[in-house]
Symmetry: D2
Subunit: 340 residues, 4 copies
């Protein structure tokens, strides 16, 4: 189950401290110009070391494309790519080798597979998500040719809703994160994602509804614990008369006056903006002593070492966009199957 998608499909591999991470993109349309600068810039958005708010791991995260591109254009053949782990030999993991870190996946992986690569969390590391960003970047290359724009942003960090200009919101975010860091703690939040100019008709009822596909995409990201669409959980108090989106004729194009539905009705996009929210729990790694159990079943204490990011939201923004982009492209391709 390391493959995402139905027609546009991303298959990934790689651990935090193995040789490399990478993947295969299948179902990429042919004849698309491959803008390597853009792809690398997407990766850079999620890279560690992005300003004061993120971890200091020194990784270039350069993606190498191995196939599927010829003379600068996609060929319709699968695109293989790798990102080498530059400093994968440097670390010391003796303190996590034999312990199940609280709210990490050490325990569940050990139970499921009977073995785990404990170095940096192995496959469970959020480092895995860089492959998603590569897949999403290729999807975006197609979407932008169609005028479809995907933008995610941080809506809330902890209880603090971010408001105002970009600079003001960044300042609000930094203030919360600084305080959390000073306490050697961590914090989660909510990322919003908007898909503009989405064509009408994406979604494959009854089990492949577009909201189900977007939800699964987002809930597969590390640390994500919730997803909603349109007014979502915050609109739970509204009645039908408040929530219904009335149709009108906008110079020949049928639109809705409101968009409480978040652009999807009956599991199919209606052409309005698709709005969704993605909930991230706090990263479980905190620089405090915690009680836990080791692999021998003994109760022990554990304190994480090194530098760790107290808040992943900034780096998660391009990941949310990537999952949205791949989902939309996949469903655009599936929609074509209806038009013989």
């Amino acid at each position: 189950m390391n493959t995402f998608g139905n027609i546009f499909r991303l298959t990934t591999f790689g651990e935090s401290h193995g040789e490399a991470l990478g993947g295969v993109i299948d179902g990429m349309p042919s004849g698309i110009d491959v803008d390597m600068e853009f792809i690398q810039s997407e990766l850079d958005r999620r890279r560690p070391g992005q300003g004061m708010l993120t971890t200091a791991r020194n990784e270039a995260d350069k993606v190498e494309i191995l196939s599927g591109v010829f003379e600068g254009k996609t060929t319709g053949c699968p695109i293989g790519f790798v990102v080498r782990n530059a400093d994968h030999h440097s670390a010391d993991y003796t303190n996590i080798k034999d312990v199940y870190r609280p709210s990490h996946a050490d325990y569940t992986y050990q139970m499921k597979y009977g073995i785990r690569d404990y170095r940096g969390g192995g496959r469970t590391s959020a480092r895995e998500t860089l492959c998603r960003v590569v897949g999403g970047a290729f999807a975006k290359l197609v979407l932008r040719e169609k005028g479809i724009v995907i933008e995610a942003d941080i809506l809330q960090v902890g209880n603090q809703k971010l408001q105002g200009t970009r600079e003001e919101r960044q300042a609000q975010l930094e203030e919360v994160v600084k305080a959390v860091r000073a306490e050697n703690d961590s914090i989660g939040g909510i990322i919003g994602c908007t898909i503009r100019n989405c064509p009408v008709g994406l979604g494959e009822p009854v089990f492949g509804k577009l909201n189900a596909a977007l939800g699964a995409a987002m809930l597969s990201i590390n640390a994500v614990k919730g997803f909603d669409l349109g007014d979502g959980f915050e609109g739970v108090g509204q009645k039908g008369s408040e929530m219904n989106d009335e149709f009108y004729n906008d110079h020949g194009r049928i639109r809705t006056r409101t968009n409480h539905s978040g652009g999807i009705q009956g599991g199919i996009s209606n052409g309005e903006d698709i709005n969704c929210r993605v909930l991230f729990k706090p990263v479980p790694t905190i620089l405090r002593e915690q009680h836990t159990v080791n692999t021998a079943g003994e109760e022990v204490t554990f304190t994480a070492k090194g530098r760790h990011d107290p808040c992943v939201l900034t780096r998660a923004v391009p990941i949310v966009e990537a999952m949205a982009a791949m989902t939309i492209l996949d469903y655009m391709e599936m929609k074509e199957t209806h038009h013989l």
Copy 2:
């Protein structure tokens, strides 16, 4: 995309006012006693006409099993079933034939398929979910042999959180729904679902995480607009030190002292209760005049006729359980593939 699941798979068909609804259950373990009374009782839980709170459509909703069962036991072969639509000829749909009802799927289906069965909403009717309940009932037959229990309940209707005894919560629910009905309006809410005694190790990272699978399952139900796990959106203010679930050794079994994670870590069940919440928007059919557009693109007004349920939460409870049951069984079967 009318198939749900990977190994345990439900494929469904049927429209609100066609001949019948039904489906095929594939991947059902063999040798399971088929308790027809239980299966029918699950269907009865979602049937219209359940007390004063629900619509009065007169349907027996009797399920007929056509295959896959021999001498009272499952054979491992696919189980075909049908539920006839008893009163499918009686209704008059002239008022919805040519209009796109607000926040219904009339418009998106017409755009996607170029044709739609408008009678009672056709395929988009929540009547489709009875097939899910049949699939879920078969899944529950297996789960209960393993001691796994799935229970859903209404947590909140509109802004009203339900609290106290079952009777008190029912009274609170009825009060809200009565008031909404008096206003010819409708209301949504939140259903919680708990999975007890879930084995450790269910979930197929990185894209088949158990939370992603549960989320997709729930978000494919009609009118569902949100999903969260464990503390979910309500826990967004908590820090890592508050949210982390510390492990301890409970007489040889490794458990967590708290369960903020909702029983899933790294996308894999950890043996604690799995808790999730499912958000339902208000049903869009309300007995009030609304502005909309007809199929010719003209702006018109529309008022729904007949009796309609102002709140689907009571009938949605068994549907939520069914989707959970099928997901858990599917992932139990997938887990077996790891143990050659």
Copy 3:
């Protein structure tokens, strides 16, 4: 694994002597006129009792469409259908209940599932294939709108190659089958299938090559033991210079002068006729005493009772066509995903 196809998908259920057989067709294009007479006529082609050469089971095999069709046209929603087993209570199966019939699937089903519906072979009966014919008939409705024609025919029965006019070939076939019947034996043979006017570009390398898809489709039919394409096994002695199909320009359309490849190159259709052959082994039921083992592991003798068809080739012709039709339509739909 009771689902066939990727986008155009048929899911089937049903045993020889259960209540009914049936299935769900998903991915059917919308807006197609449903010619029920044609669909029933396809079923009639594979029905028992087709002249002197086939078994005398008295089944009307009337298909009932339950969904997915509205006012005579497909809606794009899944098409549920059932075919009732008319005489499923009449038979006596005491002689096969506890015995593993040679070269039947009694033994393998019992080992795999631990239980089996022994009545008439249960799920392993060729009666299952009538669902394929229904799926194929719907596929043909689409293909014929595109001018694509699928025709299968018996090429060989036993060692006898059929040659000459239709009447002559029928006479040759009957002569062989009569002789085999007189010996209480059975005989297999080869069916050829040709797909004309197939569009260029069907096939999804590298694992979804069109020849692989056609091969899997045919090899999933009961009693099929071999498949080849173009010159196939009979051309094994030819060299590259004899086998290569040279291209030429036929008034602007690129074609090949010969068609040793059978219309597929590199796993993708090239627009020439697709020719394949399907090998059927003799039906294992023969009216002679055979040595075998019973379910207790004891060596016993077994003699089949009743009337049995010594040769299934005539009835298999529409089944071969059905599998070809569904494969081609599925791949036509997949091809569309390349054209955003």
Copy 4:
């Protein structure tokens, strides 16, 4: 469609003259010792330059494992691997850039994708199969722990059936190939494959029959045009009484006295040896002038340059084994889903 398998899955990428070929193996059981020497030796078996009979391309074909292995054992996480193309810059392709080579996939790829990497055939090159051999080698690591043995061999080259000792058969092969090379021609043949000690119960009727899965696996290999099982096409003249495999009790184990069925009955393995045959057409590249058409549609002549292998059978043997190994392991994993 560059993914093979259901649970054990291989996804591949790469062109003949791109940067690298590679893939991702998903569903590999955890805890398996990774014998790198064995894996490389399997690759060496299909490598160019194997003695006088094969092409002289100078490639080391060293596989690099990038993930999914920790301290010498598989972890259950996906295994990424790459094989670099050592001499991918050296060649000159001006003579094939604008021409559709007869019976190659140049034309069909151009029509399907609108673009193609013409260098060495790009994705259509048999060089793609080295990724299959890597996947098959991992599968074999598991199978050999279970005592399951897969062996392929050349049965026939052109019309020449190979007989006698290994040395005699090699001599017969070389004699035919030498003669064909002297004529600047090419030749195909038949490879047989036997799977010994296969467990009873592999196969997922009705569409996932083991014979259908093996057939699809083999028919997806470059140049394969036919597949049969057991007595196959050569047994077409046999009657039921000759073809049926009678059961007996072999000291408590139920076996068949003959094995005309090739180890599969009703689509499920019966524990006997699985025997199948795979037909390869002659490689289409021959050192002779041929008539064809260029990309402008003009009729031209084309003569291949350089050294080319007149017969691929020797190098195809490990590829056939690899496809068989992956299929068997995949179906072993699927079989586990029946045993909750």
